[in-house]
């Protein structure tokens, strides 16, 4: 027996589609992703949906992942390098529950890695995909207040304000003072934000064999770095960008080359932020 109109109306908007997003929303994200891949480093607008995570909590990365995930995928979600972060774990649960995929904490086992503020330290392969959550897609936002003017500058290939900001920091402070989110030059010409990854990670973005997709849900932009894209930090030839200075070796795996953070203020104990890479090193 076919359903009545009343039954259809009652059921309307109560069922959840595969991978949470409806097909129209997925298509919107995919189209913007394809455009972003064709224009490496550019900020491509997309109709960002209201997601079941707060804006600024990874809604852009989540929309990218959900628009791309399929039944055969294995998904890893990290926040600051840590799979156990509550926010990462909530998104991982949502992806697994709605897309019916396996999840993992192993970088090597994942087909999609969604990350906030870190590039996984174990190198990703060409068959893997890195999705980065990005709060601020506009690298000129601190020096060019008007977004319309910033867009025009990008279109003209004129990124002078970013160089002026860098020069200003150099003259007044002896180097960039921005910390994470140091601007990058993509393919030698397009100025982009790498998302707030530490400078240590900015220096690891060049010519990766896998695609990197950056999603800003709150500001509704997608940026892509296709495989093997040349990426360089914005820096003067005689003032190369330096990674963050770190105090001691990791107290778990003893690495002196990983990205490490001080566990408690002034405590002198340093620990890898990438939990999976640290575990692998500790077991080796």
């Amino acid at each position: 027996m076919s359903p009545t109109v009343a039954e259809l109306a009652r059921a309307h908007a109560r069922a959840m589609p595969y991978a949470y997003l409806d097909e129209g929303s997925k298509r919107e994200v995919r189209r913007a992703t394809l455009k972003a891949l064709a224009l490496p480093g550019r900020q491509v607008p997309f109709a960002s949906r209201e997601m079941p995570v707060a804006r600024g909590w990874g809604s852009g990365g989540l929309q990218l992942t959900l628009s791309l995930v399929g039944p055969g995928d294995v998904v890893k979600v990290i926040d600051q390098g840590d799979d156990a972060s509550l926010n990462a774990s909530a998104m991982r649960d949502l992806i697994a529950r709605t897309a019916g995929v396996e999840t993992t904490t192993s970088t090597r086992a994942a087909t999609i890695v969604q990350s906030r503020h870190r590039l996984p330290e174990l190198p990703l392969r060409a068959d893997q995909l890195l999705v980065l959550q990005m709060p601020h897609p506009e690298p000129l936002r601190r020096v060019v207040r008007d977004p319309a003017r910033a867009a025009r500058l990008h279109a003209d290939g004129d990124v002078t304000p970013a160089w002026v900001e860098l020069f200003d920091d150099e003259v007044r402070h002896g180097g960039p003072v921005g910390g994470a989110d140091h601007p990058i030059l993509v393919a030698g010409r397009t100025l982009a934000s790498p998302s707030p990854v530490p400078r240590y990670d900015v220096l690891r973005l060049d010519r990766r064999p896998h695609p990197i997709l950056l999603g800003a849900g709150r500001l509704a932009r997608i940026t892509a770095l296709p495989p093997w894209t040349p990426v360089a930090p914005l820096a003067f030839d005689d003032r190369p960008l330096a990674p963050e200075p770190m105090g001691g070796p990791c107290d778990r795996c003893a690495s002196t080359t990983s990205y490490r953070v001080e566990v408690r203020p002034g405590g002198g104990v340093w620990r890898c932020s990438d939990v999976d890479a640290c575990r692998e090193r500790a077991q080796a």
Binding site: M51, P52, L86, H173, A180, G266
Partner: protein, 333 residues
């Protein structure tokens, strides 16, 4: 003519009746809404806030008005400054360090709840476990040093002199305000306005990191009328936040630590105030001005302005038009 006594009395009465809420008891639950109303009113009384919400038909600004009007003519007793021992933490998180002295305590975390609309009482249930008592009680503020105090080795802008802020309900705000007066005024700012001001301030800073957010039940003590010894007469939930942001210190890159506190458990209020306070300390080109912030933060003042446009402006409007009309006539001549 409307809104004057020339209007039909029956029409005015009917209009008033149309605006009256459905009769019924004050709402149960809705704890965070009640806390928001109390915070914006600057008066913590859950029962009064529920009545105000019911009487205002759920309009938050209306409920805040009722609560503030009610409290305005009650006698105000000076209470003692809250001692750190009287501040029993119920939540304490740091986004800056994983491991802080006296530990992180998640407490109630509304941000961690599902954001999917539920249609059935148990549909999409999260299999929520019962809340069990912790092995140990969370500490008081006395046993948990402020995370900001652990960063003394960094170049941090000297905060403006601390001190008791005057009660904004009792004393006029004059500019430039002391930091205490500013923080007291922001403590009862409108939630949406505080968040918007924080977003505007954030656009002018490189970064903000939440050093610490706490919620606590604070004990309120007043001097005993006979002995003068401070006695605890009430407790109220308070949210506090400290946010570190970039600031120039003696011409070098450094930091400023912003602070925010508010009644109730709506945490974003305290975080937003801390961002605003940090931005004001950092200053610099394009920073928001204190006067603009304080003018925009008070919800009753801003709603009052916007809604007063419903009052008749017949006389002033004629005067307002006449200036331009006179100019136009002169041009014609």
């Amino acid at each position: 003519m409307y809104a004057t006594l020339h209007a039909s009395e029956r029409a005015v009465a009917a209009a008033r009746r149309l605006a009256a809420p459905e009769p019924g008891p004050p709402p149960d639950g809705l704890r965070l809404l009640v806390d928001q109303v109390c915070a914006e009113a600057g008066t913590y009384d859950e029962d009064a806030a529920r009545r105000a919400l019911a009487q205002a038909d759920g309009d938050v600004a209306g409920a805040v008005t009722l609560l503030r009007v009610w409290a305005a003519t009650l006698p105000a007793l000076a209470s003692a400054i809250v001692a750190p021992e009287d501040e029993r933490l119920t939540r304490r998180v740091s986004a800056a360090f994983a491991d802080v002295p006296a530990g992180q305590w998640l407490g109630a975390a509304p941000q961690m709840r599902s954001r999917l609309l539920r249609w059935e009482p148990d549909e999409g249930g999260e299999g929520e476990p019962d809340v069990v008592d912790a092995d140990e009680a969370p500490p008081t503020r006395a046993a948990a040093p402020r995370v900001g105090d652990l960063l003394a080795h960094l170049p941090i802008a000297a905060p403006p002199p601390e001190g008791d802020g005057p009660d904004p309900a009792l004393q006029p705000l004059t500019l430039p305000a002391t930091r205490g007066a500013r923080l007291a005024a922001l403590a009862r700012g409108e939630t949406g306005a505080l968040v918007a001001l924080a977003a505007l301030g954030h656009a002018r800073q490189r970064e903000e990191v939440l050093l610490e957010a706490t919620q606590a039940i604070v004990g309120v003590r007043i001097p005993h009328p006979r002995t003068g010894a401070p006695v605890r007469v009430a407790g109220a939930p308070v949210s506090r936040a400290e946010v570190i942001t970039d600031a120039e210190v003696d011409g070098r890159p450094g930091f400023a630590i912003g602070f925010g506190a508010t009644l109730g458990r709506v945490e974003r209020r305290a975080i937003a105030i801390a961002i605003v306070d940090g931005g004001l300390q950092a200053g610099g080109e394009g920073a928001l001005r204190e006067s603009e912030i304080l003018a925009a933060a008070d919800g009753l003042a801003t709603s009052g302005f916007v809604e007063h446009l419903c009052l008749p402006h017949y006389a002033s409007f004629a005067s307002y038009l006449s200036r331009v009309a006179a100019d136009a006539e002169e041009d014609d001549e």
